[in-house]
């Protein structure tokens, strides 16, 4: 697996694209913020020593500072001229470290009334941040306070900044499905990828001295099983499939209905995780009157995340929703609802892992 390929690299002014590209669409109108996705990934992939603090799948409350803290302001990716944007390596505490708790003291040490359960970072310091530190805080003032959940994984980008930054060619993009992987035999833990990834979805394993990240559950995918985060999601909002499969939900949502948008497309890496932006209830004015012309989640905020097409997309979803409410047919709503699981949400990956 050492062969250095050009897939994902800029060659003579053109990014070399894979034969096929797997993608996910997350319908933010359905996310419960339950973190089952994060936990299923953790149980499956990041239980070894050196991975305690790794969360390849996270769910951030938005507006919020995210994981790692303030990642949106850190740089990385490509600028408008296609030049790499310098960035930095986020610290363990900024991602949220693997906390230890004083359970012994509180539960068995007879100090239950004098002290309380408190987390400590592995280096003994007091945590300043964690993966869900600002969960459910959101933005806005009562009665217009608002938030929504933003599940995030590695975007398996078409032009991955991580891949191009690595001096060892240790990161590669598979030609058959576009999954971006770090070859752990070739990686030497230099961590330039952690700087270059604008989504800050790469973690450092100090025990093995390598970088690690979401692998799109490739060993599952190769056997027709959906990625763990998608299969376990009780909200049934994580669509998985090939972008070029015209009969699949991914193609329908991204290319046909055009209601699924990349997160921070301006970062230039061309992510392959797409989001159906969230609708929100109307605003309430100073006199307590409902103003149906304005959504609770400010449009400019959503545009800052998902780009200039948000308003147009929300209009399409609203119109189709109303159609459905009137008892008319709506292919878009039927697709988003996912009547039949798993075949409607990841048609190529319906194998039950328990049956393998």
């Amino acid at each position: 697996m050492n062969a250095r390929t050009d897939v994902g690299r800029m060659m003579e002014g053109q990014v070399v694209t894979p034969k096929r590209q797997l993608a996910m669409v997350f319908d933010l109108n359905k996310c419960l913020g339950c973190h089952t996705c994060s936990i299923s990934c953790k149980r499956q992939w990041t239980r070894e020593e050196g991975m305690e603090h790794q969360w390849w799948a996270v769910v951030n409350t938005m507006p919020g500072k995210g994981t790692p803290k303030d990642w949106e302001g850190m740089g990385g990716g490509w600028n408008a001229e296609g030049e790499p944007n310098p960035s930095r390596i986020p610290l363990r505490d900024e991602y949220g470290d693997a906390w230890q708790f004083n359970k012994q003291e509180v539960f068995h040490g007879g100090k239950g009334v004098e002290t309380y359960l408190a987390p400590t970072n592995p280096d003994g310091s007091k945590p300043g941040w964690g993966p869900n530190w600002d969960e459910d805080e959101g933005g806005g003032e009562y009665p217009n306070s608002h938030f929504f959940y933003l599940p995030r994984i590695c975007n398996h980008c078409t032009h991955p900044a991580c891949l191009e930054a690595c001096p060892r060619g240790a990161i590669y993009k598979r030609d058959e499905d576009g999954i971006v992987l770090i070859n752990d035999k070739q990686c030497k833990g230099f961590r330039f990828c952690m700087e270059a990834c604008p989504y800050k979805r790469i973690y450092y394993n100090h025990v093995r001295d390598i970088s690690q990240k979401c692998i799109f559950c490739f060993p599952r995918v190769e056997k027709g099983v959906a990625p763990a985060c998608a299969r376990q999601c009780p909200g049934r909002l994580r669509f998985v499939g090939y972008l070029d499969d015209e009969n699949g939900p991914i193609h329908k949502l991204v290319h046909q209905w055009k209601v699924a948008l990349p997160l921070h497309g301006e970062y230039g890496t061309q992510p392959n995780v797409y989001y159906v932006p969230p609708l929100s209830p109307p605003r309430v004015d100073a006199n307590g009157k409902v103003d149906p012309s304005k959504p609770r989640i400010p449009l400019d905020y959503l545009e800052s995340l998902f780009g200039p097409r948000v308003a147009e997309v929300l209009e399409v979803i609203k119109a189709e929703k109303e159609k459905k409410a009137r008892g008319e047919a709506s292919e878009l709503m039927d697709t988003l609802i996912v009547y039949k699981w798993p075949e409607d949400i990841f048609p190529d990956f319906t194998v039950d892992p328990a049956e393998l």
Binding site: P86, E164, P167, R168, G169, R191, F192, H206
Partner: protein, 215 residues
């Protein structure tokens, strides 16, 4: 530079051993590895306006006893970085590079013209890795037991003694083979971990140093 024959090489295992005082040292001038030699645009762009490779020189001494060779490297570094836990921890490091082919380029070799690196890093102070490389970004671990090390940091300088058998059997083709009377070339690099130096972000010796192993 002369690698002197001695019959008391074990007395020189410690970098602070008094015996090193009697061995002539060669001062090797270092310079930052140029931006043009950085293998990716990200690295070149990020470091374009940042200082690195500030270690200006390295003192090198060498001895052998007919079976074992020992080098002592000594360079100024007032901040010891030996831990690797935080995401931004990069330990201090140093390396010797030996060509395995006559015309191997001094900067990490080239395809078909490999080089052998003896790479010591402060998070594993007691051993050095033997790597083989055939170009930038291609290095691969050959062996991590053949070269032993002892290191000391005195608050101002790192002193590191690296020892290996003159000839090695394991991975013989990818390891430099040495013998008394031989003349060969080597070069050096130093990484200041506190400045996040790693990979091609380093101070290196832009010229070969001629080694003469005393017969």
């Amino acid at each position: 530079m002369l690698v002197r024959r001695t019959d008391a090489i074990d007395a020189l295992a410690d970098p602070g051993a008094a015996g090193w005082g009697a061995i002539a040292a060669e001062t090797v001038k270092l310079m930052p590895a140029p931006a043009a030699m950085q293998p990716t645009r990200y690295i070149a762009t990020k470091w374009r306006d940042q200082a690195y490779g500030a270690v200006a020189s390295l003192d090198v001494q060498g001895v052998h006893d007919g079976a074992t060779i020992a080098f002592r490297l000594r360079w100024r570094d007032s901040a010891k970085n030996a831990v690797r836990f935080e995401n931004t921890d990069f330990p201090d490091a140093a390396a010797l590079l030996f060509p395995l082919a006559a015309d191997a380029p001094l900067f990490m070799g080239a395809p078909g013209q490999p080089v052998n690196l003896w790479y010591w890093r402060a998070d594993f102070p007691e051993r050095a890795r033997s790597d083989v490389a055939s170009g930038i970004g291609s290095s691969r671990v050959v062996d991590d037991t053949a070269i032993t090390a002892r290191a000391a940091h005195d608050g101002e300088f790192w002193s590191v003694v690296l020892r290996r058998a003159l000839k090695v059997q394991a991975n013989a083709a990818e390891s430099v083979q040495l013998e008394p009377g031989q003349r060969l070339r080597t070069t050096f690099a130093v990484w200041e971990g506190g400045n996040l130096e790693r990979a091609g972000i380093k101070a290196f010796a832009p010229q070969w140093v001629e080694l003469a192993i005393e017969a």
